[in-house]
């Protein structure tokens, strides 16, 4: 059975907007999602680490505030996750649904794991007795589940781009009780994604530092330095894993990012350079009198780095699945009205959320209950 023939047709329903627009939204949604996910990973991992190994009162204080913020980070992570989930289905549904079916049970497990991890984080955040071992246990469980979820995601995303494996997999077992473990890039991709996520996530601590610096410069500086150190070390490891990933790709795909495609090469290069620049910025913050400017720079540079890495990821997928696009073109029928309403509501909604945050964080007044 040739792979070309098993890739499902896109179906008769036209796309509701041009491919480029949907793809921009896909990448944008992914970036927002992954930034929030990074925050969750950073907060839980560092939070638990210093709960176990932290010695100073500052450590303890940081651990507690991280534990309290995990759930409020997970909410946007899930909410933003819906965006790429939506647009990947619109654009690449025929690939995405198929690879999901092939690993259906682990894929469905993601929901159960997420539910349990979420409740575990709420235990970690809300449990009254802050010394309780239950907090350690539940946050640990949440972390393990997050790592599993990420592993299942990487399985699906690598399977999605390798249709040549699909038919044999389905013929061997249509019950979806398996994973895609044979992919040579899998382990590098997983390691790279996780480390990068953790690295960027440790900047959440830096962000807390910026926030605290005005009132408590010492604590603020501690946070910026502590989070910054994690960021430097872990991002360094992520880069190593990233090169591993690049070299685990077969030559034609690797070459895309090593000169053959200008867009791919420049995106990757920018991604790496922005990461290095962020490292440089944060280490300058260590010595600066007011570390906030450099810390801000590190945050912005690394967020931009994530944008370019997301573009690299997007290019890689498109290159893999390009041979499998059927002759039947994706027809486009713009839904102008609904689209305009969405964009208008999106802007208003964003403004509204910002307004809400402003109202919420306004200088405190005495509670009136």
């Amino acid at each position: 059975m040739n792979a070309q023939a098993v890739v499902p047709y896109a179906g008769p329903t036209p796309l509701p907007a041009a491919v480029w627009l949907l793809e921009v939204l896909l990448v944008l949604g992914f970036v927002l999602h992954i930034l929030a996910v990074n925050g969750v990973l950073g907060a839980t991992l560092i939070g638990l680490w210093i709960r176990w190994f932290g010695e100073t009162p500052e450590h303890k204080r940081l651990s507690d505030s991280l534990m309290h913020s995990t759930t409020s980070l997970l909410s946007p992570a899930i909410t933003f996750g819906i965006v790429p989930l939506l647009f990947i289905q619109v654009l690449f549904g025929n690939f995405f649904y198929t690879s999901s079916v092939l690993i259906a049970w682990p894929w469905l497990m993601v929901i159960a794991l997420l539910l349990l991890a979420y409740y575990s984080l709420y235990i970690g955040s809300w449990w009254k007795n802050r010394a309780s071992k239950l907090i350690d246990l539940s946050v640990f469980v949440a972390i393990v589940f997050f790592l599993l979820i990420a592993f299942i995601f990487v399985n699906n995303m690598t399977l999605l781009i390798t249709p040549e494996k699909w038919f044999a997999m389905y013929a061997a077992d249509p019950t979806g009780m398996r994973l895609n473990l044979s992919d040579p890039t899998l382990i590098f991709r997983y390691a790279h994604m996780l480390l990068a996520a953790f690295g960027v996530g440790s900047l959440f601590v830096v962000a807390l530092g910026i926030f605290h610096f005005k009132k408590e410069p010492d604590y603020g500086r501690f946070l910026i330095e502590y989070g910054g150190r994690w960021f430097i070390y872990i991002t360094g490891l992520a880069m190593v894993a990233g090169f591993g990933f690049l070299f685990s790709l077969s030559a034609p795909y690797r070459q895309l990012f090593l000169g053959q495609s200008a867009f791919g090469t420049i995106s990757l290069l920018l991604g790496i350079m922005l990461g290095l620049a962020a490292i440089f910025a944060i280490s300058s913050a260590f010595h600066a009198k007011d570390p906030r400017r450099c810390a801000w720079a590190a945050l912005i540079l690394s967020a931009l780095g994530v944008v370019f890495m997301a573009i690299v990821r997007d290019r890689l997928r498109d290159a893999f699945i390009a041979p499998y696009f059927h002759a039947a073109p994706l027809s486009v029928r713009y839904q102008v009205g609904p689209m305009a309403i969405f964009f208008a509501l999106f802007i208003l909604g964003l403004a509204f959320v910002v307004y809400m945050l402003g109202r919420f964080f306004r200088p405190e007044r005495p509670a009136s209950s």
Binding site: P8, Y9, F342
Partner: protein, 439 residues
Amino acid sequence: MNFPVWDVWFGSSILIAIVAVVHVFVSHFAVGGGLFLVLTERKAYREHDSGLLSWLKLHSAFFVLITVVWGAVTGVGIWWTIALISPQATSALIRTFVWFWAIEWVFFAIEIAAVLMYYYGWDKLDRRTHLWFGWAYFVAAWMSLFVINGIVDFMLTPGKWLEDFQVWNGFFNPTFFPSLFFRSFLSFALAGVYALITAAWQKDPALKAKVVRWSSIWVLLNAILAVPAAYWYTQSIPPAVWALAKGTLPAATYSAMLIGLSAFLAFVLAFIAWLLAKRTPLVLSLLVLLAAFSAVASFERLREILRKPYIIFGYMYGNSIYSVPLDGDMGLNLPTLNERGVLRAANWVQTREIHEDNMIQAGREVFRLECQACHSLGGYRDIGRLLRRKQLTSQPAILAILGVLDKVPTSNVMPPFAGTAKEEEALSHFLTSVVQSNS
């Protein structure tokens, strides 16, 4: 057949039903509960009742844990599940309504942000601002119901969309408004149902009496209001379809009766809670919850049964075959498949040619392609059990029924068999082997 069929041994249709029901039961609460929070908070301020207020704080923690976590994650879970079980239909829904999903997402995001600030704002914000966050939550939650409602109703009553494929016609479809009213009242009633649980927990008798009374009134009042909305809803469904629930299809009729019965039971139990007030035991609250759950589950089931044999009414059958030819359907429609054969058209089969000696194997694949969306081998709606119940145990008898699938057990429950005579024969051999092997 365009997509691989996920083989779920206990039946994929029951899996989707489970995920859908546990989500719907909570997601409606998430809407109505928002109104309940703000109105109760306002009541507490007006009556200077600090006891009521402290109960409400507790209740709002419960609300966050139920809606923000369970509601949001199972909502994603529904997508996950339908995409695994009916990718073809999911793709059609997503492509048709992507901007509507995106609009819904905006409200969802506001909803989540607002409820978290509402909860964490109890001791931080002044009363007016705090209430304002509650209202922001409720309005956003109701708007997200407004949008999803259109897409969900579309599947049962696509209305004029079937003629012109205009998305607005699909969205504001014939059951949009009756269903919106029905779901709104349902959600307000559920707010009371859930509140009865945290209410029954209260120790202070005076406070408990007050909260139980207030919560049960939410249930009673909204259950009454839901009745005319439900009636309007039934009147907006095509009469031939509604006939299934009125007797022609036992399973549908049974679900319809169960809705009425459970809702009535929930009403009566809530009334008893109102009478008992401070003596209301937690068990009673749980019974109200159970009855309400049964009503919601039966409602979802009825909707699902009424939609049969379709997954998108008049457009795509439950087994992902288009009922009429469409531009770009790649021949995956009933008339074309009858000519060409499903084994030839499908992407994911190993047997394409049928001979004397591979009948059963080919029949197995036809079964997976055409029947497994609704039937299973040994699980839910088990095909062996159904055949035996009808005493169809010989191959000729089974072959005969395959010719009239769209007319048994009553008209319009199953799609007609799609494929060539040879494939029909192969399927009959496979089904015979199933019946005979486990009889």
